[in-house]
């Protein structure tokens, strides 16, 4: 495997961003697993959607730019799409959960 040696301006921010992304993903999934209510469990994966995705995409952008020796910013596409679609998903899921809870408590 031919790996280019990454310069120092990539590895130092990349290390910090990857550790942040890993810890945030772990904490978010533990929240998804261990919290009691559905409306509490909503908050865990949104950490993954924002902080972890942003940090990983920044690292990917840095490494791709260092390998190709020119600025590569097409990871901005994923960032824009994820930050635009995560609120819609959360809103629809909360509406569905509220509707189902109301239908269950009204007895039909």
């Amino acid at each position: 495997m031919t790996q280019t040696a990454l310069p120092l301006w990539v590895t130092i921010p990349g290390t910090v961003l990857l550790v942040i992304a890993g810890l945030t993903t772990l904490v978010g999934s533990l929240g998804l697993l261990r919290l009691r209510d559905f409306f509490q469990r909503m908050h865990g994966p949104s950490m993954t959607n924002t902080v972890a995705a942003g940090a990983t995409l920044l690292t990917s952008m840095l490494v791709a730019s260092a390998v190709a020796a020119r600025p590569i910013i097409h990871e901005v596409l994923i960032a824009l799409f994820v930050s635009g679609s995560a609120p819609i998903t959360s809103l629809l899921l909360v509406q569905a959960a509220l509707y189902r809870n109301k239908a269950r408590h009204s007895g039909d």
């Binding site: 495997m1 790996q3 280019t4 040696a5 990454l6 120092l8 990539v10 590895t11 130092i12 990349g14 290390t15 990857l18 550790v19 992304a21 890993g22 810890l23 993903t25 772990l26 978010g28 999934s29 533990l30 998804l32 697993l33 559905f38 469990r41 909503m42 865990g44 994966p45 993954t48 959607n49 972890a52 995705a53 990983t56 995409l57 690292t59 990917s60 490494v63 791709a64 390998v67 097409h74 990871e75 596409l77 994923i78 799409f81 994820v82 679609s85 819609i88 998903t89 629809l92 899921l93 509406q95 569905a96 959960a97 509707y99 189902r100």
Partner: protein, 93 residues
């Protein structure tokens, strides 16, 4: 310094793998259907992050397209499932 970067990459991949495992457990034990949909949403997001870290470690741009497609189709699937829970059908006549 490259070794420290590779260690951070392995750490991130291990954390994302544990997160995918937690999402799978939540899919199995989720008490209601919306819990399972939320866990599936978190699972595809973690899969996208895993593909991105794989692309960083192999220094290839082929993983970027897969991550973009997973983001697109995962969003469509989650919206369709939530709409089904809300209305009882996905595409209304």
């Amino acid at each position: 310094m490259n070794d420290v970067f590779m260690c951070a990459l392995w750490f991130a991949q291990a954390c994302i793998a544990v997160a995918m495992l937690n999402g799978g457990i939540r899919i199995f034990i989720g008490p209601a259907a919306q819990d399972r949909i939320l866990a599936l949403d978190s699972l595809y997001m973690n899969g996208m992050l895993m593909l991105l870290t794989l692309g960083v470690s192999s220094q290839s741009t082929a993983y970027f397209d897969m991550a973009l497609l997973i983001g697109l189709f995962g969003f469509v699937g989650t919206v369709a499932l939530a709409k089904f829970l809300l209305r009882g059908e996905v595409i209304e006549p």
